[in-house]
């Protein structure tokens, strides 16, 4: 959901883009309305469903309002915010969100790039391999989180420890290490499952980018004696850059908001609670509406910072397209 301030920040790219692209000035008001009318339902819908609730969140964030104590409701000033900033839990949730998002996006982007390069060449069964690779992205996120938690990570009968037992038994040993993955490396476990889920997404976008690249230039370079590395570095990579940016941006948007994996795998324990999960618990379990709203507002403010960078990337893509 959004805030008015994001739209205001976006005025900057518009003035550059809008002038070049805008149609001739609307001289006849009737024509202008005919052009605008089809846009209005969607626009009004988005404003009512996303902007108004945020105004509500903003108002409640300045209130003392705990559903478990209905008698004590009133104006709290900045009390909720003050509590948030002195609360180590929120700070840890903030760090977790940043670490989780950065790690998942970086690793899945790199893996996705490698896989896209592998799949860009012809080999037997390429279509089949692509289908195998996109499967993780198509499994319902909750289902995939349950799969990792119970069928893979489980300390007693998960696949990982089962494989360790089997490997050790090959060498005649029956005391293979059996770590309880989710408590030994909780954040890494969450990250691994998310990398599994998001690598195919990165791969698909980068593969589309690779296949849209003109082949004749690379061909000419090869004839001129350029090696594979040089072709990648000076031809493929520059072409891929915008696709890499797009993949990173969209991945970030979705991973920052991740709720399913944290909720299912660790229930936010052992330092894996990210911001969305923290807001969820404050609201849904502690029933502290004022506090939850303040957290929501803080999340939005932080998101605006990320979104400003992200939207700048998109607007540069957009400008290219208009030209």
């Amino acid at each position: 959901m959004s805030t008015p301030s994001v739209t205001r920040r976006l005025r900057a790219p518009r003035s550059a883009v809008g002038r070049a692209a805008s149609s001739p000035p609307a001289a006849r008001p009737r024509g202008a309305w005919a052009r605008r009318a089809p846009l209005l339902p969607a626009l009004l819908f988005m404003i009512v469903v996303t902007q108004l609730p945020f105004v509500g969140t903003l108002v409640i964030s300045f209130m003392r309002w705990n559903a478990l104590d209905p008698g004590d409701r009133g104006f709290a000033g900045i009390q909720n915010y003050k509590e948030e900033f002195t609360d180590p839990q929120l700070r840890s949730a903030l760090t977790t969100t940043v670490v989780l998002t950065a790690a998942v996006v970086a690793v899945s982007l790199l893996l996705g790039l490698g896989l896209a390069l592998l799949l860009d060449r012809k080999f037997i069964g390429r279509g089949a391999v692509r289908t195998l690779l996109i499967t993780p992205f198509l499994v319902v996120p909750v289902a995939s989180a349950l799969l990792w938690k119970h069928a893979l990570y489980n300390a007693t009968y998960g696949l990982f420890n089962g494989t360790l037992t089997w490997l050790w038994s090959l060498f005649g040993s029956d005391n293979a290490p059996q770590p309880d993955w989710l408590s030994v490396v909780p954040l890494l476990s969450v990250e691994a499952s998310l990398v599994w889920q998001w690598t195919p997404f990165m791969m698909l976008i980068l593969l589309a980018g690779l296949q849209s690249r003109p082949t004749d230039i690379a061909e000419a370079a090869r004839v001129d004696g350029a090696g594979a590395w040089h072709i990648f570095r000076y031809l493929t990579f520059p072409h891929l850059r915008r696709y890499l940016e797009l993949a990173a941006l969209l991945g970030t948007v979705y991973v920052v908001q991740n709720f399913d994996a944290v909720f299912t795998l660790t229930s936010g324990g052992l330092g894996t609670a990210n911001l969305p999960y923290t807001v969820y618990t404050t609201f849904y379990q502690a029933h502290d509406y004022g506090q939850a709203s303040a957290e929501g507002v803080i999340v939005v403010v932080l998101s605006i910072i990320v979104a400003t960078f992200a939207l700048r990337t998109v607007s540069s893509l957009f400008r290219e397209e208009i030209r």
Binding site: M1, S2, T3, V6, R14, V17, G18, S23, R35, L39, A42, L43, V49, P53, F54, G56, R121, F123, G125, L132, L133, I134, P136, L138, V139, V140, P141, V142, A143, S144, L146, L147, H150, A151, L152, Y157, L159, N161, G162, T165, W196, P200, L204, I205, V253, F259, F263, L275, P276, V279, F283, Y284, A292, G296, V297, V300, I304, A307, L311, V314
Partner: protein
């Protein structure tokens, strides 16, 4: 790697160049093909494991080391569909289907005219409008959840599937507008002008000329919208309860209420993922276009 080091000196000293490098390329390409297959299998393995586990009995599912050759059974699926326990997954599955399909229809009804206004005859400040739509997607859903919850509670809309339809529509509408705009931008203006000279009104132009041209784009948009609605957990978890819970909510509750029966849980996860898997496999190319907001073609 080893192929390169072995053949490199040979290529340098060989009197007939052009022969060895080609063989080297062929061998490399076979190796890379095998590597791709290996990666594909590694990524598919967890899913394959889920399917295999779902087909085992509970005893065989929970063994260490894993039992690959155990007898297969459909008991997990039978249990999931409620013949053993009496908890039927059908209402949640039907709720998910209703919410996803209804919101997809609503998304298309709202996004198509909007994208038309933004692409074929751009309104002034149209880039502002585009970025407004996108900005709603950048910001976390939790920020507006509480007021929606309170309003729903006070108007009796809590635990109502139509509330989810509205929220899912707002979740997917921005992406849909972006995607549809890029598809509609491909419609040649000349055809539209010819049509309006012939006296066709806006509805006629939309239905008779624009819609057929962008049909593949509409299909891609619908697919994405369906997948994201089907997968959504947070809204459904907070805003539904007994009557309107969706398949993902049912799945999380399934584990807690039944205790851990691995085969049954895996069967449930497979069943709930099936509609999305089927749709995604059937339309892989469209998925790419859709997920990249129509920017990648």
């Amino acid at each position: 790697m080893s192929a390169t080091t072995l053949t490199a000196p040979a290529a340098a000293t060989a009197p007939a160049p052009g022969h060895d490098p080609r063989r080297r390329t062929r061998r490399n390409s076979t190796l890379l093909g095998l590597l791709a297959w290996l990666c594909g299998i590694v990524f598919f393995l967890p899913f394959a494991w889920m399917v295999l586990t779902s087909l085992h009995s509970e005893q065989d599912a929970a063994t260490n080391p894993p039992s690959l050759g155990a007898a297969l059974t459909l008991n997990g699926y039978r249990e999931f569909f409620g013949s053993g326990t009496g908890v039927s997954p059908w209402p949640p599955l039907i709720n998910s289907l209703t919410a996803s399909v209804a919101s997809t229809v609503l998304v298309l009804l709202l996004a198509t005219p909007a994208a038309y206004a933004l692409s074929i005859k751009p309104v002034r400040k149209w880039t502002d409008v585009m970025f407004f739509f996108l900005s709603t997607k950048m910001l976390p859903a939790v920020a507006g959840l509480l007021p929606v919850y309170l309003i729903a509670k006070n108007t009796g809309l809590l635990d109502n599937i139509w509330l989810l339809v509205i929220l899912y529509t707002s979740m997917n509408l921005p992406i849909a507008v972006w995607m549809m705009r890029s598809f509609l931008a491909d419609v040649p203006v000349a055809i539209l002008e010819a049509a309006s000279i012939d006296g066709a009104g806006l509805p006629t132009v939309l239905v008779r000329i624009v819609a057929p041209v962008v049909a593949p784009g509409i299909a891609a948009t619908a697919l994405i919208s369906f997948i994201f609605s089907w997968n959504e957990l947070l809204f459904a978890r907070v805003l539904t309860g007994v009557v309107a819970n969706t398949a993902p909510v049912f799945l999380t509750g399934f584990v807690t209420s039944q205790g851990l029966f691995l085969a049954k849980v895996c069967a449930a996860a497979v069943c709930i993922s099936l509609p999305v898997l089927a749709a995604g496999f059937a339309a892989q190319d469209k998925l790419v276009q859709g997920l990249s907001l129509g920017a990648v073609k």
